[in-house]
């Protein structure tokens, strides 16, 4: 549905996106991850036709965004960063305007707006000027606007940014419900969000893709993947560390402590499953284990390992 090939964008001497290629199919929810300034928003702005690429090609449902702009834009619903809207209009007027611009005639426009309002639970604030709405409602007006024409492609720049947990949950449920018949790209800083709704995660850094896979595959790249963490009284900790290290499948053990308990994390040698051997050991040694769990992996750790911090980037730029 979305095909991006060799996409590049310069701002003066700065290269924001450098030769990015990507295909997104129907049914995929692609999570766009990356540090600030990595090129996420710039890429989205190019897919939706707000910015022109310096080089490369983008097609949406077969329409080239540069030569067949209107057809491509008609197929896309877009929530720009910060969900901009005309503040002096009420939510109802604004959605009616969007419906009219999208070419819906009066009766159908009403049905479309009503459906969109229902999905985003906007009914209570429909007749208030958008500038008087809370952040959560403003964001939902932006979402309502993006899904109004039931587009085959949905691009959302930080759809849950600034929402409270309940609002996040409802936006995520909405995205999940639409996912099967659409190609969706969302950008986010929240790694938990990738786990919650994305079928595929793409991490970009300095304008190029540095990782592309299902959330599970990304987690498998974490050094915490399949590691076992257990907490037990400090008195038993030293002995436990020694016993754990002696296990053949264990590559290393790390110890930390808080609230009067010791927390040990045993890292497996590559591919090994630790949880059974460790629990058998704990039983044999009669440790007073309070918690024990196998780690699926930590996305934030993967994220940090494969992207560069902006401080590091600034340092690299100076030298």
């Amino acid at each position: 549905m979305i095909e991006i090939d060799g996409l590049t964008r310069h701002f003066g001497s700065v290269t924001a996106v450098a030769g990015l290629s990507l295909k997104v199919a129907r049914g995929e929810v692609l999570g766009f991850l990356g540090p600030n300034g990595a090129g996420k928003s710039t890429t989205m702005k190019m897919i939706t036709g707000y910015l022109a690429p310096s080089a490369g090609r983008i097609t949406v449902c077969g329409h080239d965004i540069e030569t067949d702009t209107l057809a491509a834009q008609a197929a896309v619903g877009y929530l720009p960063e910060g969900a901009p809207a005309y503040g002096d209009m009420t939510a109802r007027q604004f959605l009616a305007f969007i419906a009219e611009v999208r070419g819906f005639k009066s009766a159908e426009a009403k049905t479309r707006v009503a459906a969109s309002v229902e999905k985003t639970e906007l009914a209570p604030v429909l007749d208030q000027p958008i500038e008087t709405l809370s952040k959560g409602f403003k964001r939902r007006v932006g979402v309502a606007q993006a899904i109004l024409h039931d587009p085959p492609v949905l691009i959302m720049d930080e759809p849950t940014d600034g929402l409270d947990p309940n609002q996040k949950h409802s936006v995520r449920s909405l995205i999940r419900a639409m996912a099967p018949e659409k190609a969706i790209i969302i950008s986010t800083h929240l790694l938990e969000e990738v786990d919650a709704i994305c079928t595929r995660a793409v991490i970009i850094d300095r304008g190029t893709i540095v990782a592309d896979g299902t959330p599970g595959e990304l987690l498998a790249r974490s050094r915490y993947h399949n590691a076992v963490t257990l907490t037990l009284p400090p008195a038993q900790a030293d002995a436990a560390v020694a016993k754990l290290k002696a296990l053949p499948a264990v590559a290393g053990v790390e110890r930390s402590g808080r609230n009067g308990v010791a927390s040990l994390t045993a890292f497996p040698k590559s591919g090994a499953l630790l949880i059974e051997t460790v629990s058998a050991l704990a039983l044999r040694e009669s440790w007073a284990v309070q918690e024990m769990y196998a780690e699926p992996g930590r996305l934030d750790e993967v994220f940090r390992a494969i992207t560069t911090s902006d401080a590091a980037r600034a340092k690299a730029a100076r030298t």
């Binding site: 910015l51 896309v76 720009p80 901009p84 209009m89 611009v101």
Partner: protein
């Protein structure tokens, strides 16, 4: 048309959604009146026509029209709605034309509300109503031309103050290009053809010709083509900002 209409409607309604429209119309009518009666000594002339009233229009528009045009694009850029409007399936030219028409129609309403002064002369004497109608059309065309210039300049910046100041300066140059202030500067050295060309860009020259009662097609074409020129430039500016 199907693209222009929704844009026009939204823009036009936006003026009346805030106090902007009412404040503007009140100030517009007040300054129009003040200039006609106190600066132009409307009653002292003892002539039943509106030439004094219309003579000040280009000069008042010089400040009032950029006050409207400055926000046309700068505001969209500042609030981020630019990203929304340019990613909707509407061609850029339609947005440009829709915005201009809405702003122009709005000044048209303000201009139409000056009708009591026409009622006054019509009651006091027997003016040539043909001339007055032609002058109203001429005044409306001048407003539209300033609006096109202002809209184009507004598209180049996200700062409304800059848009206002630059628009006033550019509009001023177009207004005075037929006066000695500008022409004397060129007379001394430039060929006559160039001086004539510069003077032919003067809004005042064309407007005065219309207010004299001759709605010459050439003057109308001048204003319409000037609008077309600046609206085209407006489209180019918006497109350039996409790749700029």
């Amino acid at each position: 048309m199907k693209y222009i209409w929704p844009v026009f409607k939204r823009e036009f309604a936006a003026y009346f959604a805030t106090p902007l429209a009412y404040v503007f119309i009140v100030i517009f009518l007040f300054t129009m009146g003040a200039f006609t009666f106190y600066v132009g000594h409307f009653y002292d002339n003892g002539i039943a026509d509106l030439s004094v009233f219309f003579a000040y229009h280009p000069w008042l528009y010089l400040f009032l029209v950029p006050a409207i045009s400055m926000r046309l694009w700068a505001e969209e850029r500042r609030s981020g709605t630019m990203e929304l409007i340019l990613t909707l399936p509407v061609p850029v030219w339609a947005t440009v034309v829709g915005k201009h028409l809405a702003a122009w129609a709005f000044t048209g309403i303000a201009l139409a509300l000056t009708f009591p002064i026409w009622l006054t002369v019509d009651y006091l004497g027997s003016p040539d109503n043909g001339v007055i109608l032609a002058s109203y059309i001429g005044s409306f065309l001048v407003a539209g031309s300033y609006m096109a210039i202002g809209a184009c300049i507004s598209a180049t910046t996200g700062n409304q103050v800059i848009a206002f100041v630059v628009s006033v300066v550019v509009c001023f140059l177009f207004t005075v290009s037929g006066t000695p202030l500008v022409l004397d500067f060129f007379h001394a050295w430039a060929p006559v053809a160039l001086t004539d060309a510069i003077s032919s860009f003067s809004f005042v020259t064309h407007f005065t010709a219309i207010t004299a009662g001759v709605l010459d097609l050439r003057d109308v074409v001048f204003f319409l083509s000037l609008m077309a020129l600046f609206l085209t430039a407006n489209v180019v500016v918006v497109d350039m900002k996409k790749s700029g």
